[in-house]
């Protein structure tokens, strides 16, 4: 039996092995991904990102425990950085996930980023697809401890949690572009630490600037206020205002409220049509990327390296412009 079929049958060893093949992009792994694709698209992909030390792994541990109480099968993909010098990595997220050991309804996989800079590894999307096909209801993707611009997770996940902790920055950090913009839910973890109120205030201010909580307009000299939940996007769908939740992950505080917020976001995604739109955008991007890669490969097979090199020499000598060289090369391919 091939790996894809074994994975569909619930074979955990086959699942683990297929994940490695997908991670290493072996021909067998890629073929299995193709075979599994019709079985994907069912899981809720939950992204968890934030600066190092904010407690992402502990929070993921608690989220998984709570979803297990709802009898949902949980997969966790935990990404940690590879060394830019040796390519090696220490993947330590499991240390905070001891509580999940011994439960076959949970499957944790650590991944090294292997040179990717967006907070995920290149193969993370493929690994997530395998878990999706294998029948996991919730797939929690924990990114590399992210700074300001590691925002790939927002493209992959349906719901993105950005984890903050008190004392990490002032309100200027909160109005910078980047990671805070991708949050569907902002989690202030370690909420028992001093400074939690000012952190929450800064985040609220940021949200009010980015997403108006209310709008005031004048009508016959009178001011009318419209609360944000009555506001609609241009296409008539309601607008999601990121929620802020406080947690203390190591004491399991604030988890029910956080789970409620995540559930509310899922309902919003379904009702607004955003779920379908996100799926569409993601598949379109994947399709586009693969098409480009394959076209370049195909082109290289059609036109010899020597011809390409000749054109490049002409370009270097400034006898022919790069764009024109490419046009002429493409003409040769058609001929």
């Amino acid at each position: 039996m091939d790996l894809a079929q074994s994975v569909l049958n619930g074979d955990r060893l086959a699942l683990a092995r297929l994940l490695s093949r997908v991670e290493n992009a072996t021909p067998e792994g890629l073929a299995a991904l193709d075979a599994l694709f019709p079985h994907t698209g069912k899981a809720h992909l939950l992204g968890v990102t934030g600066a190092p030390g904010t407690g992402k792994s502990s929070l993921v541990n608690q989220l998984a425990l709570h979803y297990r109480k709802q009898d949902k099968k949980v997969a966790i993909v935990a990404v940690d950085p590879s060394s830019p010098f040796t390519g090696g990595a220490v993947l330590g997220d499991r240390v905070r996930m001891r509580d999940l050991a011994g439960d076959t309804g949970v499957f944790i996989r650590s991944m090294a980023s292997r040179g990717s800079l967006g907070g995920l590894a290149q193969a993370t999307a493929g690994v997530v697809q395998v878990f999706d096909a294998a029948g996991f209801d919730i797939i929690i993707i924990e990114t590399v401890g992210a700074g300001q611009s590691e925002v790939d997770i927002a493209r992959l996940a349906h719901t993105t949690l950005v984890v903050e902790a008190p004392g990490l920055g002032d309100d200027i950090q909160a109005i910078k572009a980047g990671i805070l913009e991708i949050a569907d839910i902002l989690v202030i973890n370690k909420a028992d630490n001093p400074g939690v109120d000012s952190t929450e205030r800064a985040l609220k201010t940021m949200l009010e600037l980015a997403h108006p909580v209310k709008r005031v307009f004048q009508h016959h000299g009178q001011a009318f206020e419209v609360p944000a939940h009555d506001l609609e996007q241009e296409n008539g769908d309601p607008l999601w205002i990121p929620l802020i939740r406080r947690t203390v992950a190591i004491q399991a505080n604030g988890l029910p409220e956080l789970l409620e917020a995540i559930a509310a976001h899922v309902i919003y995604l379904r009702e607004s049509g955003d779920w379908a739109r996100r799926e569409e955008a993601r598949l379109e991007a994947e399709f586009d990327l693969l098409l480009r890669e394959r076209l370049v490969e195909y082109f290289r097979q059609q036109v010899s390296d020597e011809i390409v090199a000749n054109f490049f020499t002409e370009t270097l000598a400034r006898r022919i412009a790069p764009r024109e060289a490419v046009e002429q090369l493409l003409q040769r391919m058609k001929a």
Binding site: A16, S20, T26, G88, A89, V90, L91, R94, S110, R114
Partner: protein, 134 residues
């Protein structure tokens, strides 16, 4: 095909709380370009075998300073085999009396590293034991 990464689980079974050795080895393997999954202290053999399965590792390193190695190591080996992970290499570090080493090797332990072992030796042994082409 580029060389694939060697994945190693470094675990501390049993109840002793001394994880410096395990961390030194984890760091050395990382610097040798391997991907090390570090699980932390006080792991049961069941937890270690389950983590080795989920992570599809090539090797498992066990650090034991409690003297309970003759109970813990065979149990880990047994569970790994029961899960179908017959090719996973197992190495042990810590305080292991010389007379126990042959018995550990008999049940399938690749090598035992006592105090003063060089991390270079660990790296070379793992590289030799695990093929990485393709």
């Amino acid at each position: 095909m580029t060389e694939r990464k060697i994945r190693v689980l470094v675990a501390k079974p049993g109840l002793d709380g001394h994880d410096r050795g395990a961390k030194v080895v984890a760091r050395a393997l990382r610097d040798a370009g391997m991907e090390v999954i570090y699980t932390g202290l006080r792991q049961t053999p069941e937890m270690i075998a389950e983590a080795a399965l989920q992570e599809d590792v090539d090797a498992v390193g066990l650090s034991i300073l409690s003297g309970a190695h003759m109970a813990l190591v065979p149990r880990v080996v047994e569970l790994l085999r029961a899960n179908g992970q017959n090719n996973v290499k197992i190495f042990v570090g810590g305080i292991i009396p010389d007379e126990d080493v042959p018995r550990l090797k008999e049940i399938g332990v690749m090598e035992v590293y006592g105090p003063g072992s060089s991390t270079e030796k660990v790296i070379t042994d793992i590289r030799t034991a695990i093929p990485t082409a393709g």
